[in-house]
Symmetry: D2
């Protein structure tokens, strides 16, 4: 293995996003994992925590897990953080200056630290860093990401929502005050922590809404839609928990404005994403399914005319652990280090 | 077994709704199945087509399957039809007059035969019967059902939508012109016919929308909502196919009218269903899940205030094969023969 | 509701077996639940812990959950225990003498308290009660169960294994020293406790063996097979965890003895279970599936000739929460109180 | 894209194995797909048949589907056949001589055409090719594969069984006459054809055995085990259909011979596969799960001592569409063209 690979530290490697980051990084041509932290599992090889990485572990010589306190930051050029929100702020504040940071937590996504405090229940713990944090929705903030030290990668739901909404809001094709987002997510989005609600029997063979009118991804979506709209807007965001491992599908109900039609929305999205490697407008009439993007960094968008006059239905789907988390983090790391943006992200979707 | 049980014929017994009707009828204290048709499987015992009914078959002496042509109508007091739509009209038109009919197909649900022709692609084949058909949403048409010869049991989605919408539309609490219904359904709703789209690998570990802006349950919902609203309305109805066997959950987004609040909607629903045995408003804050009603005739409703001002979120869930089909058919048969409405329908939900 | 119903206390009502016992008991014509304990949830209504029981709770007036310490034993005629093993022994030892007990834990299943200590890691805590405990495999110990104060209901796997093996071992048709049991179980068998291994993402879309050569149901199977064989035998018992809620399927590989054939095994099983209401030998060639018995107290058995000469393959399937636990407990309570054995257990299997 | 890539034709591209071959080939550094046949879908782009390949289709310029009759064989250096068995023989017999062939069907796996006729119900249609066909179990026939024109890739079950059994049979550590293979498979193994038995509702939330004592993979396993044993042997092979898309797990029960222990089996397997890139013996005590290899070409093996004296339990798991089919085909194509054996097969397993 080349010694001039970018050296990556993974903070919080024992969660599902951490594991998927390791999956992607171990087959990336320009990265090398040199540090992995997981406080509860310190001292173990990654294979003991995630046996599916066993064959990779053997091949690429992954370091054993350590605590954050034990981390040798000099071994890294960049850290990717998959820690629970709240904890990340203090740790990042203490990192040496040579390290670049791609944060997958929610800790630096909200530009206004007051909004953070309101939704996360405690004052922001590193407010001095917030002004320099770049919101890591790659397709919209490429230049800033390339220059950033700290990138706050978007949440999985916001990524799926914003890729769909930003172009049509920005072009004035829909009314930003009348957006209803009905989201369906696989269970990996809830993490590997022990909760009764994510036990197999509480999820399989069923569906239910959760965090109705109170999910923390709502203010994140609103922040970016407001910027695109040029005025402050709220959105309806209603997530549902589904019996599948990966994947998110958002069905978004919008009111057309200024005489726009569903065809106009489609044309707008097609134009915006024509040269994007990971964002695709599906052929007309093809129903996007989470299984069409599983395991990949791809996003699939679709537009339908509504039966209700003056309205349209927008659909987006992505893999919450890839484009919704680890994949987008790597996409951003690629930019931060001048690598080809698609490096290490060329996995084809896995179906069935 | 008592000889004065109501004698039931099941037309189309080899589909999932037919099987669930047999499940319920064989433990019903007042019914006896005396005829079952399934053209492709004629000559076989039901156990050969649905092995899970084997133990029941042994116990209650079910008749073997026959073709419709072979059916002895004199052996029945009532027929329950689970045939594909279109075929039912001609068969029902030819039935002897002593038979009562509970039809689970879509063939007599639309009061206007022109609307039927528009959505189902052919002229209605028994238009003379349509005026006498009673729409079988039990909680709304009890008296007419009790007197009817022909009851057109509602579709699964319309049942879930209308139980939620009719009271609040009728009371003028929401704007009937701004209703968005995002529906999620288990795969049994698509039937046992061979279609690539319902193969295990095409459904498992994923979700996708289907029949967007064109599902045949939309005009049925609109018909009844229009009656409640006193004017013609359209609705957005967007179904999704989910990796589960049974169950439907509808998340419905509505605009409040006349200063109503989400609490007013809750109070309206609670009042309307206070004495209903099968329709329940969930305790405030409890997220309804399809698994809470699985296998039972129960329906669970919920109301949430929306984050968007002036809007609310309504949720309903039921088992598409029970209250959404066979259970409601039996509920109606109970009424048609003066039996207790809950007879044979007291199964508790099956969880996990 | 009749006041002369048998009054049932449920100890450990907040687990899956407890919930299924309540499901069955609330539709049982002769039982009434008068006590439910769940230490962590004391003070709550059952609906708060298991929302699917909400509609039942409304109808039959279930008592709220209390701690074991708060339990009013005088309100009960019988207690059914669904507590974790180990804890049950002390609690049962302290119960007043008027109470009959159907224990669903493992605490009194092993006739030899030394074997208990060896497999469960601590000395038996109520060894004086063990001699009076009757092993509650209903089809084999009916008379003793009817007379017993304390019935130790078998584990789910032993029930499935023994119904298959006892007749053919007893008749000398197979070699008891060469029995291999490959078991596949749904996840509800692992309970509602928080364990990483039963999170949705750790179970869905996969299968793996567990507790290989060390599962605690092995000595229980061996105890009863040894009695039938008239000599001490060991068995191979290898369970696998599967992505389904309910159900167990055992594929058992046996060596024929004394010139017996697979047909002899079938004849033996058919003769043994001809008049049993819940145990059925499937028609020849029909593959038994867990979905054929889901939600019901039925057991399905099958026999195949093996491709290896002198061997046969036996299959059994049941619902681990019903015949494998709560259903068999109720079957035994019926016997203990002179009720019809099938009372309250006539649910048909739920498919799909 | 380099013009000196190996040009690959895919026959039968509209099945699941065909799709997975395309998934792997489109990210392979040395292959280029230049022909894809699918008679029923001729004229369509691959994306219309498998939407998940849409993003790939856009990127690598896949040819549209054609019929076999329309195929331009001159556009290919090698064809990979994913056709239903029986049809492949005639087609392959008619291929021009410059083409190499990796066949994923069963048509050339059985060295004895009489055995083929017995199990597949018709005389072999290209018996003159059989002597030159090389059995494509890569780890055992590398040299012959590298020289072969026609490679008969093994079935998914035989691959999983033989990697486990061949070393220990060959070393005389187990009795080849007493092998019981209990197999559990995901549903993609049954293909994309329309069959009632693979509808979602017939598979989800359940398990059942199928083709007991009569599965066509039995003679294939027996053929190779017999060669290793130096005498003809039969095996018990009992497959089960499971509610998952991909993956196979085989739990194999064996009798030790010559005083061997489970540790000896482990040592034998570890030695045999120490330098294999895709076959791994799991750390002692770690339960292999299908999810540990999902989407990858890896195989995981495990050994357990049995509770029955003188016996052991062997477990193997692989992804039926990768190492069990398309991945092994590519591994063989790599060998046939002198490419690195792991080229294009370095995907890490996808979990969750």
């Amino acid at each position: 293995m080349s010694t001039d690979r970018i050296r990556v530290g993974v903070l919080g490697a024992s969660g599902y996003t951490g594991a998927d980051l390791v999956r992607l990084a171990t087959t990336h041509p320009n990265l090398r994992i040199t540090l992995m932290t997981a406080d509860r599992h310190a001292g173990k090889p990654m294979q003991a925590v995630f046996p599916h990485l066993g064959p990779q572990t053997g091949k690429v010589d992954l370091p054993d897990l350590v605590t954050v306190a034990e981390a040798d930051w000099n071994a890294c050029d960049v850290v990717v953080c998959g820690l629970p929100h709240g904890t990340t702020q203090e740790i990042i504040a203490g990192l040496p200056g040579h390290l670049k940071i791609a944060d997958m937590s929610a800790d630096f996504r909200l530009r206004d630290t007051g909004t953070y405090a309101e939704w996360y229940g405690h004052a922001h713990r590193a407010p001095h860093l917030q002004p320099d944090a770049v919101y890591g929705l790659t397709e919209y903030y490429r230049d800033a990401i390339a220059e950033a030290r700290l990138v706050a990668c978007p949440g999985c739901y916001p990524t799926a929502a914003l890729l769909l909404l930003l172009p049509v809001v920005g072009a004035g094709l829909i009314d930003p005050a009348d957006i209803v987002i009905d989201a369906k997510s696989g269970t990996s989005g809830a993490g590997r922590g022990l909760k009764e609600g994510t036990l197999f029997c509480e999820v399989a063979e069923g569906i239910h809404p959760y965090a109705v009118a109170g999910h923390r991804h709502a203010p994140e979506i609103e922040q970016e839609v407001s910027l695109a709209a040029g005025r402050e807007v709220l959105v309806n965001f209603t997530p549902h928990l589904m019996p599948m491992n990966r994947g998110e599908l958002l069905t978004t109900y919008v009111r057309l404005s200024g005489g726009a039609t569903a065809d106009d929305l489609r044309a707008c999205l097609e134009a915006r994403y024509a040269s994007e490697p990971f964002v695709h407008v599906a052929p007309e009439g093809m129903a996007p399914a989470t299984r069409h993007v599983r395991g990949s960094n791809h996003v699939l968008l679709q537009v339908y005319a509504d039966r209700l006059p003056g309205r349209a239905i927008l659909v987006s789907t992505l893999d919450n652990l890839v484009k919704g988390s680890s994949g987008q983090a790597i996409q951003n790391v690629n930019l931060m280090f001048g690598l080809p943006e698609t490096a290490g992200l060329e996995q084809a979707p896995l179906f069935p």
